[in-house]
Symmetry: C2
Subunit: 179 residues, 2 copies
DNA sequence: AACCTATATGCACATAATTGCATGATATTT
DNA sequence: AAATATCATGCAATTATGTGCATATAGGTT
């Protein structure tokens, strides 16, 4: 699983609590690898057991104590080995495309609405990507780590704007059926 | 899970054996929803238990008997209900993007190779889609079911050609680092 | 003769992901 | 005053997915 590696990668940047990581997986790295907070906490426990992170509790008053996780040398080794290994092809699983594939068994107006919803989701993501790009990358001088993130972000922007275009076409094509 | 529904959808077209379905999930519907043959057989057993498919063994000589699965009325009901329900957003999980995100912890030439491999995979998929489009859809008069499949295929083609373009850019951007 | 591919089904085990719940304080909004 | 959001952790149960193996025959390849 690459969830372990995704977490370790986040921790190379700075030590973090599970809560911080969960938020990171709701944005930034979460754009490329989704994970829920339960997944993150469970994986952190495993990483701790394997000695890939060093976890220490910080006393807090008024709210639960935080547990700060720091990547160990062994953890950095794991990241390095992972980075050399070939990438798995992301497995496709898209209900919307299955429904188009199954158009004969589907109510067209309902499907059209679902396409509209999906279109909005992609537009929202695209807007979010643009905000991040403007705020953190445009007109700034970037180090290597930032350049990498910018490349990933740029790919995200291309994909999302392509999806917006493609979904528009699909909606048009759907409208032409029985018209 | 929508694997059940994807299988049922395939069976609305014609009754099939698990083997036939597994092959279908290696191509056509598999472009939109990936599943291995083990997943298919397991899910078929469940569908049979729930009475959503009707399974009967066909005697064969020289090779194992086939079990032909036919969708039942209950199965068609399930497909209909599913088609009305909102689609889940496909969850992103792409190691390659994580590696770009983590560029500081990655060896650039190695990553470049991985990007090249991915580029080839997308080119191959794009070529496959074009072959299917030419063979089954171009210049043909299409019924509603075929039009739906064509819309899905067209989206696939857009996505793949976008990915080819985007990966090219990413490789260029990566080449400009430390150059 | 040994090996590979296609046909055809499926079990067992392991790993991963989702869903729902539980706790409990403080701060902000309606 | 009540409801919601933020902070912060995690268990338990279920569902989904992946890996490896098992079986058995026909036909073609090296």
């Amino acid at each position: 699983m690459a969830l372990a590696e995704a977490i370790l990668v986040c921790l190379t940047d700075r030590p973090m609590s599970g809560y911080d990581l969960a938020k990171t997986f709701d944005a930034s790295i979460g754009f490329f690898w989704r994970a829920s907070h339960q997944q993150v906490y469970r994986e952190l426990a495993r990483l701790r057991d394997k000695g890939l992170v060093d976890s220490r509790e910080i006393e807090q008053s008024g709210r639960p104590n935080r547990i700060i996780h720091t990547i160990t040398d062994a953890g950095e080794g794991v990241v390095h080995i992972w980075s050399q290994k070939p990438c798995r092809v992301p497995s496709v699983k898209d209900e919307l495309l299955v429904k188009l594939y199954a158009l004969d068994n589907v109510d067209i107006p309902v499907l059209r609405e679902q396409l509209d919803i999906r279109l909005d989701q992609h537009r929202a993501k695209l807007a979010a990507y643009f905000r991040i790009k403007e705020k953190f990358y445009d007109g700034k001088s970037l180090n290597r780590a930032q350049k990498g993130k910018l490349i990933a972000l740029t790919m995200g922007i291309s994909n999302e704007s392509e999806m917006v275009k493609t979904l528009g076409n699909a909606i048009t094509m759907l409208g032409e059926i029985d018209a």
